[in-house]
C-alpha cells in the first residue's frame, strides 16, 4: 500500500440549477486523515464522488501522486470507498464481499484467502467469514465495508459519512477504530461528515465547506479556535453571535473601552459559550475581560458541564457553558449574575460577508 498525495485543483461541478462545487482547491498530504465538513448540500459528497470517479468535474484536475486521474474511469482509479449505508453486497458472504475487489484485480486464488483473513482481523471480524450481511449489525456491516475497501490496498481511501447510520455510542467507538486502522495502514484518507465533533476528533486537517466553496482548511484546533468567517465559527461548535453595536450597548462603560471597535459600523461580535463564565460574587473584575449583567433564565445540567441561558434584556440572551467541578456553585434559575468574557476570546466578523475582522493587539 503506497500512500499518495492528492491534489484537487480548481474543481468546478454544476448540476442543473446548482453549482455544487465552485473552484475547489485542496491538497491532501501523504498518509493524512483529511475531512470534508459541512452542512448537507455544501458539496462535500459531490467532491468525494468526483474523486471516486462517479461524477466528472466540469473544470479542474485531480492528481493522485503525480498522475492526473481526470480521464480514468471509476473502476480503474484504484481508490477504496466506504459508503454511508454500508453498501455491503447482500447476496454475498462477508468473505465474498471482501474478496470481491481482489477477484476483479485477478489476484491469485492462493493469495485471496490470507488477504481476506488479515483484513477481517484488522476490523475485528475474524470468525464472521461465512455470515451473510443480514445477520450483521450496522456496525459490523460497516466494518465489512471498511475491510472490503482497504483489502485492495488502494492508493486512497474515501469515506462518505460512514458512521451517520450508526447509533451514538457505536459511532464514538467506530471513529476511534477507523482512526486506528488508518494510522496502522498509513493510508491517505478523505472523510466526509456533517458532524463537527466527529471531524474534530478524527482529522489531521479539515476543510469546512459551504455552498460549494471551501471556507477554510486547517487543523481541528485552527478551525475551532481561529475560524476565518462567521460560517465556520458557528458551524463548528456553538457560538454566541450579536450585532456589534447591540453587544456594545449592553456593556458597562468600563468594559466598552476595552473592546477595540473595527472601522465599519456593520459588524458582529461572537464568543464561545465555554469561553465565558459566571463571575463569582465579591471577586475583583479581571482586567482583560468584559462584563455583562443578566438573569439566569434556564439552567441545563449535563453532568460534566452546565449550560446557562442568560437573559440580558428583552431582546438579548446569551449562553454560558461551564465545566462542573466539585467547587462549582450551580446558579439557580432567576438569580442575577454577571458574565465575564475574556476580551481576547471576542471574535469580530464583518456584518456583510461574515469574514473575520482582526484588529491588532
Amino acid at each position: 500500500m503506497v500512500a499518495k498525495r492528492i491534489q484537487i485543483q480548481n474543481i468546478t461541478k454544476t448540476f442543473p440549477g446548482v453549482k455544487a462545487l465552485d473552484d475547489v482547491d485542496i491538497e491532501v498530504a501523504e498518509g493524512e486523515f483529511f475531512t470534508l465538513l459541512g452542512p448537507s448540500g455544501c458539496g462535500k459528497t459531490t467532491l468525494l464522488r468526483t474523486i471516486a470517479g462517479f461524477y466528472r468535474q466540469d473544470a479542474g484536475h485531480i492528481f493522485v501522486g503525480d498522475t492526473a486521474i481526470d480521464n480514468v474511469p471509476a473502476h480503474d482509479r484504484d481508490i477504496g470507498m466506504v459508503f454511508q449505508n454500508y453498501a455491503v453486497f447482500p447476496h454475498m458472504t462477508v468473505a465474498e464481499n471482501v474478496a470481491f475487489g481482489l477477484k476483479n484485480r485477478k489476484v491469485p486464488k492462493s493469495e485471496i484467502g490470507p488477504k481476506v483473513s488479515k483484513a477481517l482481523a484488522t476490523v475485528q471480524l475474524t470468525g464472521y467469514e461465512e455470515r451473510t450481511p443480514d445477520k450483521l449489525s450496522g456496525g459490523q456491516q460497516q466494518r465489512v465495508g471498511l475491510a472490503r475497501a482497504m483489502v485492495i490496498e488502494p492508493r486512497l481511501l474515501l469515506m462518505d459519512e460512514p458512521l451517520s447510520n450508526l447509533d451514538a455510542k457505536l459511532r464514538i467507538q467506530m471513529r476511534e477504530d477507523i482512526l486506528d486502522i488508518q494510522r496502522q495502514l498509513g493510508i491517505t484518507a478523505v472523510y466526509v461528515t456533517h458532524d463537527q465533533e466527529e471531524a474534530l476528533v478524527i482529522s489531521d486537517r479539515i476543510a469546512v465547506m459551504n455552498l460549494g466553496k471551501v471556507q477554510q482548511v486547517g487543523t481541528p484546533w485552527e478551525i475551532y479556535r481561529d475560524p476565518v468567517n462567521e460560517f465556520v465559527a458557528t458551524f463548528v461548535g456553538s457560538m454566541n453571535v450579536f450585532a456589534g453595536e447591540t453587544f456594545m450597548s449592553i456593556l458597562d462603560a468600563d468594559s466598552r473601552k476595552k473592546v477595540k471597535k473595527p472601522s465599519t459600523k456593520d459588524y458582529k461580535i461572537a464568543f464561545r459559550p465555554e469561553d465565558a463564565r459566571i463571575l463569582l460574587a465579591e471577586k475583583e473584575v479581571p482586567e482583560h475581560s468584559v462584563l455583562v449583567k443578566g438573569r439566569v433564565e434556564k439552567m441545563l445540567f449535563l453532568g460534566s458541564d452546565v449550560i446557562y441561558r442568560i437573559r440580558v434584556n428583552e431582546n438579548l440572551s446569551l449562553t454560558v457553558n461551564e465545566y462542573v467541578s466539585e467547587l462549582t456553585d450551580l446558579r439557580k434559575e432567576d438569580s442575577d449574575v454577571t458574565v465575564q468574557i475574556p476580551k481576547s476570546k471576542l471574535l469580530l466578523f464583518d456584518g456583510k460577508d461574515g469574514t473575520r475582522i482582526k484588529i491588532g493587539g
Partner: protein, 550 residues
C-alpha cells in the same frame, strides 16, 4: 442522434429500442384507429361524423350506458366484498388468512371469461343449479344479462380492492388510532374518523382499477351478456360481424373506450398519489382475537366472500371430469373430455405454450432493460419514454386487437394470421407491468451497491452482472411468472388476431362455450387453471405472492 448513441453506448440503444417498440406496437395501431374514426365509411369524407352518429344513435348510446352500468355495478360489488374482507383479515384473527389470500389471488388471476362460463354451467339456461331449483319448483332467473355480468365482474375484481385495502390497513400506524382513542374517540368514531379516511386512497385506487378492468372487459359480456351490448363487445362485433362490418364505427367506439379508460386511470393515479399516509416508522396495527358470535360472523363473511369467487373454479374443474355426449353431459365421471381436447385440438395447447413463453422471454429481457434505463439513467428522453410505455394500461384488449389488424395487415408489416402478431400482442399488453416492476425492484436496490462494485475495480458491465442482476433476479422471475399467467390467459386481443392455425387455449374455450360444448371447454379450462395454479405456487415459493398484481 448517432452521436448521442456513440456517447451513451449500450443504454442509449436500449432507449432507442423502447421508442421503436412504442412507435410500432402502440403509436401506429392507435394512430390508425384514430384516423379511421375520423373518416366516413361510405363517403370517405374527413370529419367527426362518426362521433356524431355515435352520440345521436340510441343503439350506440345504449351500449355506452350499459358499459357504465356494468362497470359501476362491478366496482360497487368489488368494494362491497373487498373492503370487509380486507378489514376482517387485517384487524381480526381469522383462521386460514393465508389460504383466503391465495384463493383470492387465484380468482384474480383466472381470466374473467372462465368465471362467466362457470356461471353459465351453474345458472345458464340448462345450468345444473337452476335445474336443481327447478326440480323443487323454483324458477330461478338465468345468469344472462347485466346482473350476471355485474356478479362476474364483482367476483373477478374484488381481489384488487381487497389486496390494496388490506395493504393500506396494514400501514396505518397504530399510534394514530391510539391517539384518537386517548383523545376520547369511541371505537365507532375512531374507525370512521381516523382509520377509514386513512385507507380511502387505497380503496379508491382499487375501486378505479376494478372500474377500468370492468369497462375494458370483453369476454364476460360476450359470453353471458346475451343481447346486452357493451362498448368492447360492440366494437368487436362491428369489426368481425360477417353481415355488416363497420370498421369506422368500431374505431370510433375504440377511441371512446380509450378515452374513458384513461380518465379512470388518471383518477386512479391521482387517488394513489394524492395522499400517501404510509409511514416507515411503523407501529403495526394490533390484530384482535374475536370471541363468540362476533368471531363466527367475521369468519363466515370472510369465507363466504372467498368461497363465492372460488366456486366457479371448482365448477369448471368438476365439469371437466364429467362424461359427455356431444354437448350434453351424461352420467358419471371420466377423462373423456381431457382426451378429446388433448388429442383433437393439441394445437391450441402447444400454441398457447409457445406464444406465451416466447412473449415472456421478450417481456423479461426488454422490460428489465427498459426499467433499468428509466430508473437509473434519468434524463428527459427516458422520462418521456417512461410515460409513453405506460400507455398500454389504457388500451383495452379489443382496441389493441383492432389497431393491430388495421396496422399489420398491409406492408411493411404484413403479419396478419401469423404467430408473431399474437406474440407481439401479448408482449405489448404486458410490457408496462414488466417495466414498472423492474423500476420498483431497482428503487429498492441501493445504487451505492453497484458503485461499491465499481470502486472495487469492476467495470460497469461486470458490476451490473455480479451485483445488480443477482439481486434483481427473484423480482424478475416473479414478474416473468405473472406475465406468463396473464399472457396464457389472454383472450380479448388474440380473438381478433387468430386464424385457424394460431388458435390458443382461451380462444378454444371461448368457442367451445359459444357452441355449447361445455365438456371439452371445461377440460381445456382446467388445464389452463392448473397452469395458472402451478405458476402461482412458484410465486409463493419465491415469497412474492402479493407484489405486482396491482
Amino acid at each position: 442522434m448517432i452521436n448521442w448513441i456513440r456517447k451513451n453506448g449500450f443504454w442509449a440503444s436500449v432507449t432507442l429500442t423502447g421508442f421503436v417498440v412504442f412507435f410500432i406496437l402502440i403509436f401506429l395501431p392507435v394512430a390508425n384507429i384514430v384516423r379511421e374514426s375520423f373518416f366516413d365509411a361510405t363517403t370517405g369524407a374527413f370529419g367527426i361524423g362518426n362521433y356524431i352518429t355515435f352520440f345521436s344513435t340510441p343503439y350506440y348510446t345504449q351500449a355506452l350506458v350499459n358499459s357504465f352500468v356494468v362497470s359501476i355495478g362491478g366496482t360497487l360489488g368489488s368494494i362491497l366484498l373487498g373492503v370487509p374482507l380486507a378489514f376482517f383479515t387485517t384487524r381480526y384473527r381469522i383462521r386460514g388468512t393465508a389460504l383466503l389470500s391465495t384463493l383470492a389471488t387465484l380468482a384474480l388471476l383466472t381470466p374473467p371469461f372462465l368465471g362467466a362460463y362457470a356461471w353459465i354451467v351453474m345458472l345458464g339456461r340448462n345450468g345444473f343449479v337452476r335445474q336443481l331449483l327447478m326440480a323443487i319448483g323454483i324458477n330461478f332467473p338465468t345468469i344472462y344479462g347485466p346482473l350476471g355480468i355485474i356478479i362476474v365482474f364483482t367476483l373477478q375484481f374484488y381481489p384488487f380492492v381487497y389486496l390494496l385495502t388490506s395493504s393500506g390497513l396494514q400501514t396505518v400506524d397504530r399510534s394514530l388510532e391510539e391517539a384518537a382513542e386517548s383523545l376520547g374517540a369511541r371505537p365507532f368514531k375512531k374507525f370512521f374518523k381516523v382509520t377509514v379516511p386513512l385507507v380511502i386512497p387505497s380503496i379508491t385506487s382499487g375501486a378505479l382499477l376494478a372500474f377500468m378492468l370492468s369497462l375494458a372487459n370483453f369476454g364476460t359480456p360476450m359470453i353471458i351478456g346475451a343481447r346486452y351490448r357493451v362498448l368492447p363487445t360492440m366494437a368487436y362485433n362491428m369489426y368481425t360481424s360477417e353481415v355488416a362490418t363497420r370498421p369506422a364505427m368500431a374505431s370510433t367506439i375504440s377511441i371512446i373506450l380509450v378515452f374513458l379508460a384513461s380518465l379512470a386511470i388518471f383518477f386512479q393515479r391521482y387517488a394513489a398519489n394524492r395522499r400517501k399516509y404510509t409511514s416507515l416508522l411503523l407501529n403495526r396495527p394490533v390484530v384482535f382475537t374475536l370471541k363468540g358470535s362476533k368471531n363466527f360472523f367475521a369468519h363466515l363473511v370472510s369465507y363466504l366472500i372467498v368461497a363465492l369467487s372460488t366456486i366457479p373454479i371448482i365448477v369448471v374443474v368438476v365439469f371437466a371430469f364429467r362424461n359427455t355426449s356431444g354437448p350434453v353431459f351424461t352420467e358419471g365421471f371420466g377423462l373423456d373430455s381431457f382426451r378429446r381436447v388433448i388429442f383433437d385440438v393439441p394445437q391450441a395447447i402447444t400454441n398457447s405454450l409457445i406464444f406465451s413463453i416466447t412473449a415472456v422471454i421478450l417481456i423479461v429481457i426488454i422490460g428489465t432493460l427498459l426499467g433499468f434505463v428509466i430508473s437509473r439513467k434519468r434524463n428527459t428522453v427516458n422520462g418521456i419514454l417512461d410515460t409513453l410505455l405506460m400507455s398500454p394500461y389504457i388500451l383495452p384488449g379489443t382496441v389493441l386487437g383492432i389497431g393491430f389488424i388495421t396496422t399489420f395487415n398491409r406492408q411493411p408489416f404484413m403479419l396478419y394470421g401469423t404467430a408473431t402478431i399474437i406474440i407481439l400482442a401479448y408482449f405489448i399488453r404486458r410490457l408496462p407491468y414488466s417495466v414498472r416492476s423492474a423500476v420498483s425492484i431497482l428503487q429498492q436496490l441501493d445504487p451505492a451497491l453497484e458503485e461499491a462494485g465499481i470502486s472495487l475495480g469492476a467495470p460497469p458491465a461486470r458490476a451490473f452482472r455480479k451485483i445488480s442482476l443477482p439481486l434483481m433476479m427473484p423480482g424478475i422471475i416473479s414478474g416473468a411468472v405473472l406475465s406468463w399467467i396473464t399472457s396464457i390467459n389472454e383472450l380479448s386481443t388474440s380473438i381478433l388476431l387468430y386464424v385457424g392455425g394460431t388458435i390458443t387455449m382461451p380462444i378454444r374455450i371461448y368457442l367451445s362455450v359459444m357452441d355449447g360444448y361445455f365438456g371439452p371447454g371445461s377440460a381445456m379450462a382446467t388445464i389452463l387453471l392448473a397452469a395458472t395454479g402451478m405458476a402461482l405456487m412458484v410465486l409463493n415459493l419465491l415469497g412474492d405472492s402479493k407484489r405486482n398484481f396491482v
